[in-house]
């Protein structure tokens, strides 16, 4: 029964993904970006006939729907086109860039998840205390601060004033690619990861805290206390179990914000990931790359949502039983 639901969910997501890419395709196709101009440059000496030939070769004069269909067929053949900015195949640009971004996002995601959860549980248990108040204030501030500003502040404090960390990039400047060690990369990752972690942590903390407060005030906790369970037992047996899964689900469902935060943080730290590629592609009118990035980012968000939905179904007996009946 459950496999059928997951299958249904997968098909729904696939259809949505196609629709989302169509939306992105229309947006890019209708934009004032002229693929021809961004490909040959504004002051090219090509004759109008030659231009016409390129237009026909690319199928630019065909209706949007046909073009989208062709693009989709090409995608299924593994061909995402050629990036104009990087003069490489879009797929190889995305793979290279994404390998940088995924490390950044994964680290920040895990860190904010674990730290946020722990802090949230502590806050919820010690509700109303000084620690709780400070954390809540901090979370509200961080939630209201734009990610790129947080990054700038970390740059000012840790890179410029204290000089602990490098200003930006993913590797030391002027070092040969073969000489770059893992430590160099990690060292350059610290500030972007901290920025992204701080930007994402407040949601987890506030959510976990809220849930813990609700649970602590519930009748079964009162009963557990009456039975003589001590604080540690209550937390382990009741609080953690009830909070952990929704918190993980929430964390999976936040891939969209994670991606946005990553793009901003990367631009602040000039980190050569997918975020900087997005701005570069959009600024230079690189339609194939932009389309590829839109597809990948949508896929990223959908994966998160899919996992969240499945986890929800598995973990919540109420939903599970409703589906099985």
């Amino acid at each position: 029964m459950r496999t059928r639901n997951i299958l249904y969910e997968l098909i729904r997501m696939l259809l949505l993904l196609i629709l989302v890419s169509f939306l992105a395709f229309v947006l890019i196709a209708k934009s004032p970006i002229d693929p021809l101009v961004s490909y040959i440059g504004t002051n090219s000496t090509l004759s109008p006939e030659a231009k016409q030939e390129i237009v026909e070769h690319w199928g630019l004069n065909e209706p949007v729907f046909t073009r989208f269909f062709k693009w989709l067929v090409n995608i299924l053949h593994g061909d995402m086109g050629t990036s104009i900015t990087y003069k490489k195949a879009v797929s190889s640009v995305i793979i290279e860039r994404f390998s940088y971004s995924i490390v950044l996002m994964l680290l920040a995601w895990i860190l904010s998840g674990i730290l946020g959860f722990v802090i949230g549980v502590i806050c919820g248990i010690k509700q109303g205390g000084i620690y709780d108040r400070i954390t809540k204030l901090f979370c509200l501030m961080v939630k209201s601060a734009p990610t790129f500003w947080l990054g700038l502040m970390f740059l000012v404090i840790f890179a410029v004033s204290l000089g602990w960390f490098p200003i930006g990039m993913a590797v030391p400047m002027g070092k040969l690619k073969s000489e770059v060690t893992v430590w160099d990369r990690l060292y350059h990752l610290v500030l972007p990861v901290i920025t992204l972690t701080v930007a994402n942590i407040s949601e987890v903390v506030l959510y976990t805290r809220q849930r813990v407060v609700e649970i602590i005030g519930s009748d079964y906790i009162l009963y557990a206390r009456a039975r003589g369970e001590n604080q540690g037992q209550i937390i382990r047996r009741h609080v953690l179990r009830n909070v952990m899964l929704p918190a993980i689900t929430l964390q999976f469902a936040s891939f969209s914000e994670l991606f946005g935060g990553m793009a901003l943080a990367e631009n602040v730290f000039a980190y050569p990931g997918i975020g900087t590629a997005t701005t570069a592609a959009a600024l230079s009118g690189d339609a194939p790359l932009l389309m590829g990035i839109a597809l990948i980012s949508a896929l990223f968000v959908f994966t998160g949502n899919l996992i969240a939905n499945i986890l929800y179904g598995i973990c919540d007996p109420r939903i599970r039983e409703k589906e099985e009946s």
Binding site: L16, L27, I28, S31, S144, W149, L152, M153, A298
Partner: protein
């Protein structure tokens, strides 16, 4: 027990809202009517640290950062206002339509919401802004067209709940028209949630406008805007000009916090359960 003193929670919260709103309105109008020469170029005082004369210091062209921030924030508020209005009207129509008609309309609205949430918000903003030709128009259109999904869900949820309540069913049985039911039962119920949702849209809109502008797809470079100022400050941060990044960001943060505060406080006040605590 009834709290009869004047200084109860309700008064305190109301005062808080009034203060926050006054600050935001003051910034808005000050920026709206400010004389452009106040943040004009003065090369003789470039890159000054904050002082009594220049509260936030000056930038590489000698422009007063405080005045530029005020003007920039005011610009952001205008865009935020436009975006909130458009998004909230879209959300109201779609939310009510989906709850009232159900079936196909409901599925269509949900599909639109899913589509809009399928791409990371920032990517969608960049795509729409590019399509609309970047600049002021681009960023306004992008911010206005992408903030309705969450509010649509709220409105839909509220109306759905109301539709099956006893008093709505009863008044329909008594022969009241749909319009009367909508006006006397639905609107008063949905309005608070809707207005709060609208106010809470504001901070998102402002922050997204600043982000898109920071990345270079929003307000043009010559326009004072927090995003532009912060993007410029990146060139000077390495040389220790920290004030160029700190204060503009703080101004933005304060505005966002205040909008959040107004929204959350109104939520408490309008909820009869917590309003009189």
């Amino acid at each position: 027990m009834r709290n009869t003193s004047l200084w109860n929670r309700r008064t305190r919260l109301t005062l808080l809202i009034v203060l926050a709103a006054t600050y935001l309105l003051a910034v808005f109008f000050w920026g709206l009517f400010i004389d452009p020469s106040e943040y004009g170029v003065h090369y003789e005082n470039k890159l000054l640290a904050p002082s009594g004369q220049h509260l936030f210091g000056t930038d590489a062209m000698g422009r007063d950062m405080f005045k530029r921030c005020i003007k920039g924030l005011s610009n952001s508020l205008v865009i935020g206002l436009l975006a909130s209005l458009v998004s909230s009207v879209v959300a109201l129509i779609m939310g009510i339509a989906s709850a009232v008609f159900g079936g196909f309309v409901d599925r269509f609205v949900n599909l639109c919401v899913d589509l809009c949430m399928g791409l990371p918000h920032l990517v969608l903003l960049i795509l729409i802004s590019c399509m609309a030709g970047r600049g002021t128009v681009g960023v306004t259109v992008a911010v206005a067209l992408t903030h309705w999904p969450s509010l649509t869900r709220i409105v839909r949820q509220e109306v759905l709940q109301l539709r099956n309540t006893q008093y709505v069913l009863a008044s329909r049985k008594m022969g009241k028209s749909y319009l009367t039911i909508a006006l006397t039962h639905m609107v008063p119920h949905v309005l608070p949630a809707y207005l709060i949702g609208l106010i809470l849209l504001f901070p998102h809109a402002i922050m997204h406008e600043a982000s898109v502008t920071f990345l270079g797809f929003g307000l043009p470079k010559e326009m004072p805007a927090i995003g532009v100022i912060l993007a410029e400050s990146m060139n000077h941060i390495t040389t220790g000009k920290w004030w160029m990044a700190l204060f503009p960001g703080l101004m933005l943060l304060l505005a966002v916090v205040l909008f959040d505060l107004i929204g959350e406080t109104l939520k408490k006040l309008w909820n009869p359960n917590s309003g009189n605590e």
